[in-house]
């Protein structure tokens, strides 16, 4: 009940704007602590891989980015459900903010992956199931952004991309498993030969720290983008005018 009340409160754009503003400094602090812990652990204390040497350390960017690319889609789909059922403005705003951040993380995962692949597998790209479905995910994000930009009215645009996001969320598992099947049917194991060695704890802990740091960063970025978008959409409402007056006096 308390949670429902809190959610009802936070669903108003004004309150969400203030909430995001209040939490951003704390989240930033947490992010920097986790990032320094993770980077120190990953780059200094973790031992070099017996096979890949120091090159494996790109895992501390690559794997969290890949996790984020999926996690953000789930956050986005949750927002899409809320936006379609209850038409809550904050959720509508969040969808497009998530799409932008998600596209960046997916792109980062692909780029770091191919940088890692070149020295290790000897190729920038291989038609492996995971790589291909990550690429498809990038196009899903780009499609959502493109559809949003095609609409003039922001609220209709948000509802349109909410539908597209839900169509995508049903399809992502299907696409992923069909691609896995395609690859195993046609190509045989090219990548799974590099069977993931069970990872050393000293390697794993920094990885998890980086994972949490990346998700905290996602929320910081989401909050900033959402604040920006809310101000743009609500520029006619009383509280935004007062806020602007306050800021310009200060």
């Amino acid at each position: 009940m308390i949670l429902v009340n809190w959610l009802n409160k936070i669903a108003s754009p004004q309150r969400f704007y203030l909430f995001c503003g209040k939490w951003t400094p704390w989240l930033s602090l947490l992010f920097f602590i986790l990032l320094s812990l993770g980077l120190y652990g990953g780059l200094v204390t973790a031992p070099a891989d017996y096979q890949q040497g120091d090159a494996f350390r790109i895992i501390y960017v690559h794997v969290p980015a890949a996790w984020m690319s999926l996690f953000i889609y789930i956050v986005m789909a949750t927002n899409a459900v809320v936006a379609i059922i209850w038409r809550i403005k904050v959720a509508e705003v969040s969808i497009i903010c998530c799409a932008h951040i998600g596209a960046y993380f997916t792109f980062l995962a692909l780029v770091t992956g191919s940088l890692w692949g070149k020295p290790m597998w000897g190729t920038w790209w291989t038609w492996d199931a995971r790589l291909t479905s990550e690429l498809v995910l990038l196009f899903l994000y780009l499609g959502i952004i493109a559809l949003y930009n095609a609409y003039e009215d922001k609220r209709s645009a948000s509802r349109a991309i909410a539908i597209l996001t839900l169509v995508g969320v049903i399809n992502i598992p299907i696409i992923h498993y069909s691609v896995v099947w395609w690859n195993t049917l046609h190509q045989g194991a090219t990548v799974s030969k590099f069977d993931k060695p069970s990872i050393d704890t000293r390697m794993l802990i920094p990885l998890l720290e980086m994972g949490v740091a990346f998700s905290v960063y996602f929320f910081i970025s989401l909050f900033q983008r959402a604040r920006n978008e809310i101000l743009q959409r609500e520029f006619n409402s009383q509280w935004v005018k007062e806020l602007v007056k306050e800021k310009s006096n200060a």
């Binding site: 379609i84 498809v136 196009f139 899903l140 780009l142 499609g143 493109a146 559809l147 095609a150 609409y151 003039e152 009215d153 209709s156 509802r159 349109a160 539908i163 597209l164 839900l166 169509v167 995508g168 049903i170 399809n171 299907i174 696409i175 069909s178 691609v179 099947w181 395609w182 049917l185 046609h186």
Partner: protein, 224 residues
């Protein structure tokens, strides 16, 4: 008669098609040309063409369906027909399913005929022909209904065809994989039933969910 609404819309598509036959034959010509481009671009060696024939046929089918869905709802949208459908007492998803099914029925017959012919040209063994037909029958409705979602989403916007292509193609990947590997299996004498079962499952999923998505997407376009 709400139960008949599906068939009324389906019949309407046939009436429209009979008035302008060319518009509905264009995707089929397009299909032939795409298939023609592959041997020209690769090499005329029969072995190579035969190995990639299922892929060629299915990529061409995919593009032809995309092409035929271009501006699917635009005309109805502009002359106010969609508005009438929304205000009618019948359920909108059922009506729209009727429209899309009508379009599918019009396109599928020439597509089946021409792909049977072209599969022989590409050197596919005759035994795989039935699998190709079944995969087309199961796969193309999925392509139609999923594509109709994207067409509905882009109806309210200015930029139509390129945008909906960007939205649709990632969603077509599973159909492409299952269908072409079914034909591939049949061509090499293996069983194609797992892929065909997967396609049927996808078809059921699409037929149940897509009409709902299409109708809510159209309503958004109308509120623009």
């Amino acid at each position: 008669m709400p139960e008949l609404s599906f068939f009324i819309l389906l019949q309407r598509e046939f009436t429209i098609a009979s008035r302008c036959t060319q518009q509905f034959l264009l995707p089929v010509f397009f299909f032939c040309l795409v298939v023609l481009l592959f041997p020209l671009g690769l090499s005329p060696s029969p072995e190579l063409i035969q190995t990639i024939a299922p892929g060629i046929i299915w990529v061409a089918t995919l593009l032809a369906v995309l092409f035929s869905l271009d501006n699917l709802f635009l005309e109805d949208f502009e002359d106010g027909f969609i508005e009438l459908l929304i205000f009618s007492p019948c359920s909108l998803p059922v009506l729209l399913a009727g429209k899309v099914s009508g379009l599918w029925l019009i396109i599928i017959a020439p597509l089946l005929a021409i792909s049977a012919l072209l599969s022989v040209f590409l050197g596919l063994p005759v035994e795989s022909l039935s699998t190709l037909m079944i995969s087309l029958l199961l796969g193309t409705p999925i392509l139609m209904f999923v594509g109709a979602i994207a067409a509905a989403l882009t109806t309210g916007t200015q930029q139509n065809s390129m945008l909906s292509t960007l939205l649709i193609l990632p969603l077509y990947i599973p159909v492409l994989i299952f269908a072409s590997s079914a034909v591939q299996n049949a061509a090499t004498g293996l069983s194609a039933s797992p892929q065909l079962y997967m396609l049927s499952a996808l078809l059921v999923l699409t037929l149940t969910l897509a009409p709902v998505a299409i109708s809510s997407a159209l309503k958004i376009g109308l509120s623009q």
